[in-house]
Structures are given as C-alpha cells and as structure tokens.
Amino acid sequence: MLLQQPEAEKVFFYLAVAVFMASAVIAWTGFLFNKSLHKTLVTSMAMAVIASALSIGLRWAQTGNGPFVTLYEVLLSNLFSLGFIFLLIYKVIPQSRSAALFVLPLLSIIGIWAATTSMAPIVIPATYDTALLWIHVAVGKIFLGMCLTATGLAAVLLLRYSLSIEGFESLPGNSELDDLAWRFMAVAFVFHSLMLIAGAAWAQDAWGRFWAWDSLETWAFITWLVLGLSLHARVTWQLPDWAGWLMIISVFILALLTFFGVPFSSAGPHRGII
C-alpha cells in the first residue's frame, strides 16, 4: 500500500538524516582505518541528497509552497542544498574530500535539529511570491555550501595542527588545504554579496525599503563584514595559519546564526503579520 503523502515525506526525511549520519561514519571509518571507501561515500551521500529532495518535493506537492518559511523547512532545504553542493565539490575537487570528516557530521546535526522542530506547514506570506526570493535563496545556499566546505577543511587543518593522528599524514599538505579553504571563502564572499543584493532588492519591493537594519539584515551584514575582514587580514598580515582557520570557522558560525537562528527568534522579519 502506498504511504500517505505526509508520512512519505517524513520517511524520506528520516531516511536522509540516517544516511547522512551513515555517510559521516563511513568518512571517519575510511580515515581512521585507512580504507578506500570513496565510492561508497559518494553513493551514500547521493542517496541522502535524493531522499532529502524527495521529502522536499512531497511536502511541496502537499502544501503548494516551497521550503522557505518554517525552521523545519529551512533546515530541510539546507540539508538538501548543502549535501548537494558538497557532493558536487567532493566529486569535482578531490583535494577537498577530507572536509567530509566534518561536513557530514555537521549535516547530520542539521538533520537531527530539523527532526526536533515542528513539521507543521504554515502559509507562505504574499511577499514571498517573487522571483527575487529564488535568486536570494539560491545564492545564499551557494554561499553557505562554500563556507561549509571551507570550514570542513579548516577543521581538518586545526585538528591536524593540534593532534598528531597518524591518518592525517596521508591527507594533502597544509598549504594545499589552506589555499583551497580560502578559495572557497573567496567564492563564498562573492555569493554572500549577491545574497545581500538580491535580499535588498526583494525588501525594497516587499516592504518599501532595501535596508532597515532589522535583525536578519544586521547579522547578514555582520557575517559579510567578518568574511571581508578575514580575507583582508589574510592579505594584510602574515597571520599564523591557525588564526586563519579559526576565522573561517567563525564566519561559518556567524552564517549559521544568521541563517537558522535570527529569522526564527522573532516573528517580524520575513513573515506576514496581520
């Protein structure tokens, strides 16, 4: 018997979370036991991405709205988009693969977090009916995907710097990973800037002002500024490598706070009010 749509949505969501968790275990097993599990990992990540996409699709078909409003929807859509972006990076840039050691546990945490939130749909505000929303969200997801990958690499580098685990010796050298992490941050800066522009254009249309220093705008600007400061600091001073890696992680934490914390701490921003 076919599952009812809401149940099927939940099944695919839990499947996605479980497979992301399994993928994290596979990544760490391959690393700690020096096993070649690359193909298995690609397959499991692809399964998790497909399962999250199906969950989103079923929910969309049921509610008629994209995953843009509730915390659950935003976490679920990021589970898909971040998983998809990292899968692409993993396939295309082999040197970035060690980031999986931290990216996949982070994605699992996002999935577990989503599972603890209310899955009840709510009506999408009328101001969300615009192409600018799609552009804003799409470039925002690319920004977060780049930032997540850079953070995974920075975490690997920091761990290798602070611990002498044997397995780390077989990873690409520090300078190569460090260079790669900052390349991802540079791309993230471009996409974050585009996200701010698209968001401002949308806010102008929707609320009659392109910038009003509301909570979400302020934290998005702070994230952009800290990212810009980090890139500037790398150019200006010969900072110790570990300081740069900590800056990358700080930017990601700020981005997480902006994406998943600030919009849901008040009913004001990005919501329709009576």
Partner: protein, 337 residues
C-alpha cells in the same frame, strides 16, 4: 614637496587602516544592534574613514590599480558609500492612510524622515484616488495577498505586496495597516457643512478596540465605537473586502449616554447635526523616495562582478594537481609533500 603630499595618502591607503575601519564598523553595528540606537549615527564615522581609505587606496595602491576587477570592486564600494550619503540628503520616508473613494492629499502624509535636500513639491502634485481594498486571510489570521485598487487620471490598477505605486519618484507600498472608517457629515447651525472620515484602529489586529473620538466644530468631544459586521473567521480562510464593509456607529455623549446610528441616520447636537453616512475601509501606505535606488543596484552588481572577475583571474584558472582516482580514498588524497 611631492613626497610630503604623497606620504599621507600612502598612510591613508594602508590596508591596516582598512582593517581597523572595518573592525570599527563591525563594533559600531554590533553596538547599535544591542543598544537599539539609530545605526546611522554610529556607523557614519567608520564609513567615512573607509571611504577616505578606499579613495586613497584607489589612487595609490598598485595592487588595486593593476587589477581591473579589484579596482572596479573598490570603486563600486566607494560609490556605495557616496550613494548612501546622497540618499541621506535627498530621500524621504513617510506614511499615509487613504480612505476608499478619497483622493490622496499630501497634507495627510506623516513624514518619518526627510533629507535636507528633499523638497515635498513633487508630492504635493500627486493625484490618485483610493478604490476597493481586498486582503486575503487564512486560518489563525495569517495575512495573504493584498489588493488595493488605485485610480490615476481615470486609469485603474491594483497594487499590493510586491507591487508598489510609483509616481513622480515616490513609491507607495501597501502595509499591514488598514481598517475601517466611519464617513461622517456635519451640518452646522451656521450653515457650515463638512464631510470627513474617522479612521478606526488597524483591522483585524485591533478588532477588539474599534474606538476613536472626534471634536465636533461645535466643541463636543464624541467617543465613537464602530460595530462593524464581522468579517473575521479565525479558523478559516476569509477575505477582508471593502465592498462588504458595513456596520453601525455607537456614540457616547458627554453625559455618558450612548446612541447607536445606522448608515444614513442623524443625531442632533447643540450647534449642529451629525450624519453617519456609511462605513468604508482605509489603506495605510508607506511612502519612499530615493532617486538613487537604480544607482545603488548598479554599483552593487558591477562591484560584485568586478570582485568575481578578480577572484577568477587570481584563483580560478590554476589547475589543482590531478590524482589517480583509485589513489583518492575516502576523506584523503595523496600524501602531503
């Protein structure tokens, strides 16, 4: 002589100064956020330092001057700071409530912010009439689409949500603020006759206190309560529709006595007669004037593409070492050099 002029510019173009000004901007934004002050006041100084720093860097920093993408990005950043300053001087923000059937009157506009270089002359020339208003709601009073009909020179069109009314550089945006109004006529004993509208608080947000008061030309303070025909259906989807607006007006006299009027009924006072004509709806608009919006957008987009171009030239084409697929294991690549 030449050196003495150049040296301060080099100091001003310093990357360390850029870093310090950006850090100051960060702290100013954080401070304003947590202190709930007007951010503009706090961020103006670091922005000014950044603008001077950018200008100096564009003038003398060879790294910026020799990289076209980086140069474009920094020029655009400087342009954005200048545009923000120009916008402060020339922009205007305001709000107005217009009753269905009435013509926009600039005298009714509440100016929230006006730059010193902004004249309200163009606003005074604006003429448009408010038509029907419809707002969709779903259960739990969640607001859906807003449709507000306006008529300009005999031509009608609908604005709402992502569609603003644009005229003479002013943008009129519908807001969540809308409600009922009692249309009144006053016939004074001296032959004076006036018509007007009493706006009641935003509906359905304040459907529990549809009260207001009015001082008649004869000097009586009247407390009014609108008993509107209920349109809200908190458990279902429904539509707030100006065409269905109806109700009665409860008037509390100075003596404490209450009288309820239906549409078309009159009440006599010392000095004149008050007629309750009918119930209509009003729509609240936010007004925004900023002639630099397109320039903001252009400078932002060009700047980001300049930056992307710079990163592409600096970081993009460099090929990463190719590895044998079989040697790339899960989470690892070839051994470190």
């Amino acid at each position: 002589m030449f050196k003495s002029t150049i040296t301060p510019v080099y100091y001003l173009s310093s990357l360390k100064l850029s870093f310090a000004a950006m850090a100051a901007l960060l702290f100013a934004v954080l401070f304003s956020y947590f202190e709930q002050n007007q951010p503009v006041l706090w961020i103006a100084l670091p922005l000014l330092v950044l603008a001077v720093n950018l200008l100096a860097a564009i003038a003398v920093n060879p790294r910026i001057r020799q990289n076209s993408g980086l140069l474009i990005f920094h020029i655009c950043l400087l342009a954005l700071v200048l545009l923000a300053a120009l916008a402060q001087l020339t922009s205007m923000k305001g709000r107005v409530e217009i009753v269905q059937g009435q013509v926009f009157d600039s005298e009714q506009v509440t100016v929230v912010q006006r730059g010193p270089w902004h004249s309200l002359q163009a606003l005074k020339q604006l003429r448009f009439a408010q038509g029907d208003i419809q707002v969709d709601y779903t259960e739990n009073l969640r607001r859906g689409a807003t449709r507000s009909q306006l008529t300009v020179n005999g031509e009608s069109f609908v604005v709402g949500d992502n569609r603003a009314f644009f005229a003479h550089g002013y943008r009129f945006y519908t807001t969540s603020n809308k409600g009922y109004a009692a249309m009144l006529s006053w016939f004074g004993e001296n032959g004076q006759s006036i018509q007007g509208a009493i706006h009641f608080p935003s509906y359905p947000l304040y459907d529990w206190k549809q009260d207001n008061q009015w001082l008649t030309p004869a000097g009586q303070l009247l407390k009014m309560k609108l008993i509107s025909s209920k349109q809200t259906q908190p458990d279902n989807s429904w539509q707030l529709d100006s065409r269905k607006a109806s109700g009665s007006l409860q008037i509390e006299l100075a003596s404490g006595k209450q009288q309820t009027l239906n549409a078309g009924q009159r009440i006599e006072f010392q000095g004149g007669v008050l007629e309750f004509v009918e119930v209509r709806m009003w729509m609240g608009y936010s007004i925004y004037y900023n002639p630099w919006l397109a320039w903001f957008f252009a400078a932002s987009i060009v700047g980001v593409f300049g930056l992307a171009w710079h990163f592409y030239l600096k970081l993009g084409p460099r090929k990463l070492p190719l590895r044998d697929a079989d040697s790339v294991r899960s989470g690892r690549a070839t051994p470190a050099a």
